[in-house]
């Protein structure tokens, strides 16, 4: 069976039936994403590796509980990685570490050669859209959104870490997220 052509949901269906090849394929698709979420939260390659392994072990154990109504598989995976990473970040955080999130430069993401399947086309398009939208934000807004979403910091914690007024941080997150929503919505309508 060519697992690379199967949808994410089908892979989870097979993982729930203890098919190791299906887990291997899901890992190949999303380990970079899961690891990058953990690395951007923790700034620690060793702990990011632990989270990555933990996330896919959970997938192996919990695939049976997933249903498509719960959202996309990629969202489910990144959500598990983010929450697990934030738990560890809070546990081991020192107040001297780098709290920056590294966003990818907006660039064209090429589809791999060959016959591209639906899941691959969809993922590449969504990746390009969000990277392009994030690239439109001022650096300060990107930074504040990243610290909240990936490091689990609240408005007052971000203001404290950056030495900025609380109101400034609130405005940066509000304007940043609203701008992303508007850009992505306009693009879909256009």
């Amino acid at each position: 069976m060519d697992y690379t052509r199967l949808s994410d949901e089908t892979l989870l269906h097979l993982i729930a039936r203890s098919q190791e090849n299906a887990l291997s394929e899901l890992y190949d698709r999303y380990s970079r994403l899961v690891y990058s979420v953990a690395y951007n939260t923790l700034s620690d390659p060793g702990r990011a590796e632990e989270v990555t392994q933990d996330v896919f072990e959970r997938v192996w154990e919990k695939a049976r509980t997933y249903s498509a109504e719960q959202g996309r598989v990629v969202t489910w995976l990144s959500s598990i990685s983010r929450h697990r990473s934030i738990d560890l970040f809070r546990k081991f955080r020192s107040h001297h570490e780098d709290l920056q999130v590294t966003w990818q430069e907006a660039e064209m993401v090429d589809l791999p050669d060959g016959q591209n399947v639906e899941w691959e086309v969809d993922l590449v398009e969504r990746t390009q859209r969000i990277r392009w939208a994030v690239a439109q934000l001022p650096t300060e807004q990107k930074q504040a959104v990243g610290m909240a979403f990936f490091q689990g910091l609240t408005h007052p914690e971000i203001a404290d870490a950056l030495g900025e007024p609380l109101g400034t941080v609130k405005t940066r997150i509000r304007l940043g997220m609203q701008k992303l929503r508007t850009i992505l919505q306009d693009e879909q309508l256009g």
Partner: protein
């Protein structure tokens, strides 16, 4: 509801989806969302943005050893879970009947001795189990989930636990139930779950330390995928006896 109040919550929604609000603010927004269609629609649009944010990060490939360790662990687990292949009853009987007569007699004596040892071990095992039972903790429902039942079963060393719930309301696709473990005022997530149409679910509880070391367990309604800290209404809870 006044337009002013709706505006106020709409302004908080961007921070709500990226978890930047304090616990108190998050509670206020969640309460408002429950009865406001306008804000729910805006929340759904912002949630789509938040869901895709991880795709915008600079991506790095984990070292190959991560996959090697993972697949090796999964393979071992699968082998442990699979029952060993046993010869069929007919195969056992055929082998037994092919034995020469003296060997058959000796085999009967050995079997009798093994049978006695086996019975003795069973008796000892039953005695041990009677003195070292698993903890079974009945969770109490709150006014947010009248009629719901929950039971947490913790193994004897206290390392692992399984949660079983019944008659919890099915949530819409933007929400899930989340388990919280409390110890000395610190809360950590024990996992998220959804229930089937009957309100039933079972969940293996994950925790960085033995479950028996926690003081209590609670379950709240949270955005899909869970929250870093409890934000929604509590539905079940109970103390873990030490």
């Amino acid at each position: 509801m006044t337009a002013e109040l709706i505006n106020h919550v709409l302004d908080l929604l961007p921070a709500y989806v990226v978890d930047a609000l304090t616990d108190e603010e998050t509670g206020q927004v969640a309460e408002h969302l429950a009865g406001c269609q306008t804000c729910q629609e805006e929340l759904a649009r912002l949630q789509q943005v938040a869901d895709d944010l991880p795709l915008a990060l600079a991506q790095t490939t984990p070292p190959p050893r991560v996959k090697e360790v993972l697949m090796s662990a999964i393979h071992s687990r699968r082998l442990e879970a699979a029952p060993a292949k046993q010869p069929t009853a007919w195969q056992k009987l055929a082998g037994f009947l092919r034995m020469p007569l003296p060997a058959l007699g000796l085999t009967f004596i050995v079997l009798l001795a093994i049978g006695n040892i086996f019975l003795l071990r069973q008796l000892n095992l039953a005695n041990n189990q009677a003195t070292t039972p698993m903890k079974v903790i009945a969770l109490a429902n709150t006014q947010n989930a009248p009629g719901a039942n929950g039971t947490l079963i913790i193994n004897q060393p206290g390392d692992y636990g399984t949660l079983v719930v019944d008659k919890l309301a099915t949530l819409d696709s933007s929400q899930q139930y989340q388990v919280w473990l409390l110890n000395n005022g610190e809360r950590i997530s024990g996992g998220v779950f959804s229930v089937n149409p009957d309100g039933y679910a079972s969940l293996e509880i994950m925790a960085p330390k033995p479950l028996a070391q926690f003081d209590s367990v609670g379950i709240t309604i949270e955005p899909f995928g869970g929250s870093p800290g409890p934000t929604g209404p509590k539905v079940l809870g109970g103390a873990i006896p030490h």
